[in-house]
Symmetry: C2
Subunit: 391 residues, 2 copies
């Protein structure tokens, strides 16, 4: 089959705030080929990603993403590799291209799986889709009492593991942060798995990040996530050296498989967290999973949005039995749930897994999309380059 069309749908909640919740908007991708459609989702700023899809040519290595995808042959996984390489080369100077292409690449896998009647994880070479233990992913409260409430709620909902992120952590003193870690531990009880995500708040300040380690140890935190910005390889490595009990986690900011591999090799992280909606799709995430296995590092998905994104993000490590933690959007905004008819609900053991159905195994809820659709129009020199497409 040949790739006939790429449609980008920008969805948004009626009101978007500056809270850390990334499920307030979405960019859903539909690709058509051979009478089939595949879907994907960019975990990215919608408008700049749309612009990177359709912008005018700047020069040979700054081409709009669509020019490397439309009309291409798609029959095998090698075709996806070839298209990915073409995008990387022809858009090397277009920074947003990796985020833009991520959703397209997912859709290509979805299409290929549907056309071959295989789930994506089979096409990636896995024999099984193993169950994963989802952790409940929420934000720290503004006060420890709210953090405590959220921890209790995650247990009430049946989650054994919970991740607390962002909020006031790192903005005040280490002892203020300690109160939040203690509150989360109290709410999760002694046997709950506690994960902490500090959302790059320490920039590249190893000292400040190190000051939180002791309180994390006291609260029996499993991992200390994203202390620094995505390029701070040396700072990651230094913190890992100082933090023997607590493992460092990171990788969601990777927009190339090498970035995540370097976090493993030079940053000495213990958990590598990949968002298929940013790293360039499912194939580069699989490369990272392979490297994690070879390096004794645990692979984890990064997903804070829809169950379409969740299925895509489970594929690269579906067959890795021992890599069993999985990020599961705990309190997404309504739009994230509205995107799909299929929801990957935890089974009776409270575990989730990548679907057995062909492609990504997710049915899209077209009516759901309609309710959140953002109408975009981009004109250049009087010519319309983009208008929100018909569903």
């Amino acid at each position: 089959m040949r790739i006939e069309s790429i449609d980008f749908f920008y969805l948004s909640m009626p009101k978007v705030t500056a809270e850390a919740d990334g499920s307030q908007d979405a960019l859903v991708v539909r690709v058509a080929a051979g009478g089939l459609v595949g879907y994907g989702e960019c975990e990215a700023a919608p408008l700049p990603s749309i612009a990177a899809l359709i912008c005018p040519l700047s020069h040979g290595s700054c081409q709009p993403v669509k020019d490397s995808v439309l009309g291409q042959k798609l029959n095998t996984r090698e075709d996806i590799q070839r298209i990915s390489q073409l995008v990387a080369y022809q858009s090397m100077d277009l920074l947003q291209a990796a985020h833009t292409y991520s959703g397209i690449e997912m859709a290509l896998w979805d299409l290929l799986g549907k056309s071959l009647n295989e789930p994506v994880w089979t096409l990636l070479g896995y024999k099984n889709s193993y169950p994963k233990t989802p952790y409940f992913s929420v934000l720290f409260g503004d006060e420890p009492a709210i953090t405590l409430e959220r921890a209790k709620e995650s247990r009430q909902k049946g989650f054994q593991a919970a991740k607390f992120g962002w909020g006031p952590i790192g903005t005040g003193t280490a002892s203020e942060d300690r109160e939040h870690f203690q509150a989360a531990r109290e709410g999760l009880e002694n046997d709950g798995i506690l994960l902490v995500d500090t959302g790059q708040i320490f920039g590249d300040d190893v000292e400040k990040a190190s000051q939180r380690i002791k309180a994390m140890e006291e609260a029996n935190v499993l991992w200390f996530e994203e202390p620094f910005h995505a390029h701070a390889l040396k700072e990651y490595g230094e913190l890992a050296k100082r933090s023997r009990k607590i493992k460092i986690a990171g990788g969601e900011g990777a927009h190339h498989s090498s970035m995540a591999k370097h976090l493993i090799d030079f940053g000495k992280i213990g958990y590598v967290q990949i968002d298929c909606g940013r790293i360039g799709g499912i194939s580069p995430a699989k490369l990272v999973a392979d490297h994690a296995v070879a390096s004794g590092v645990t692979y984890v998905n990064h997903t804070f949005t829809s169950h379409l994104a969740l299925s895509a993000s489970l594929q690269p490590y579906a067959g890795l039995k021992n890599h069993e933690i999985c990020e599961y959007p705990g309190q997404p905004k309504s739009l994230a749930l509205a995107i799909t008819k299929t929801h990957l609900e935890p089974d009776k053991n409270r575990q989730v897994r990548a679907p057995e159905k062909p492609g990504l195994g997710i049915d899209i809820n077209l009516e759901g999309l309609t309710n959140y659709m953002v109408d975009v129009s981009i004109e250049v020199n009087g010519r319309s380059l983009y208008r929100t497409p018909q569903l």
Copy 2:
């Protein structure tokens, strides 16, 4: 002063082709504060960069770039650092932000210099702006005969050094490439400095890149530039190990100072090439220059466009006497020359230097901009978010 406005002007040649020439379009930035204006230039895809400036908020760490800049105080260099950190933190999930902000950051330095009546390099802590030896930067010909012609032309124009880039190199055999290297050497004569830029053509294939080393040695090439993609730290390091006589050069793809530092530390490059229009502006480039000095690596600017970009890119290493090679746009498109009234012409010794005048020391040619202006309109839910501003 407070930052009152940010205007982005998208310029383009009437016809843009897929050749490697990055001067076919431009994105000029004007920032106003305290009755002054400063100018900068993003070396980036214009439309996605505009979108990253003005897009709707996605969430707390995916904010449009303008929200971290407009209204900010600007009186000292620390203010620029503070604004840069705010952009990095509040737009951490907006990949295009680094390219978008690069031109703004230059304009902030230009503004600050004008307001303090100092050239930017003084504000960066340098006492002198040393002369640099420009190399003539051109593309390889389709045939060795054309490469030969271009090499002769560079000598006729009085350049002692010339860089040949892209074209057919790496797309055929190593012996075909050898003919081009020989042709370039012949045209430059024995005492000319020959630089080779392969524009990421080898992806991450160390073997294929290594096959070109012998022919480069024969042609007495000084550096082998950008063999691999911007994140291929290990491949850079491996090639450097295999290439003892020829130094490896790279860094133009860096969109964060750490990326360039890692190319030095892990990629073992001998020349680090920074484009201030991509790396986040002049300050992160200065960090790289400091690290280059400390590491015994030579800093070089990357500039293929206007003399506004050229002045900006000279500032971070203006005071480094021994880092004297400088990329100089050899055959830019007419729009790149039309952007400025000031052109940094080589002096009687055929050398150029960062201007002594306040700020970036470049007068913008408003009429010149008019001739190439692209009219852009972006509407979201019926609201106009961007229209090409008045000059």
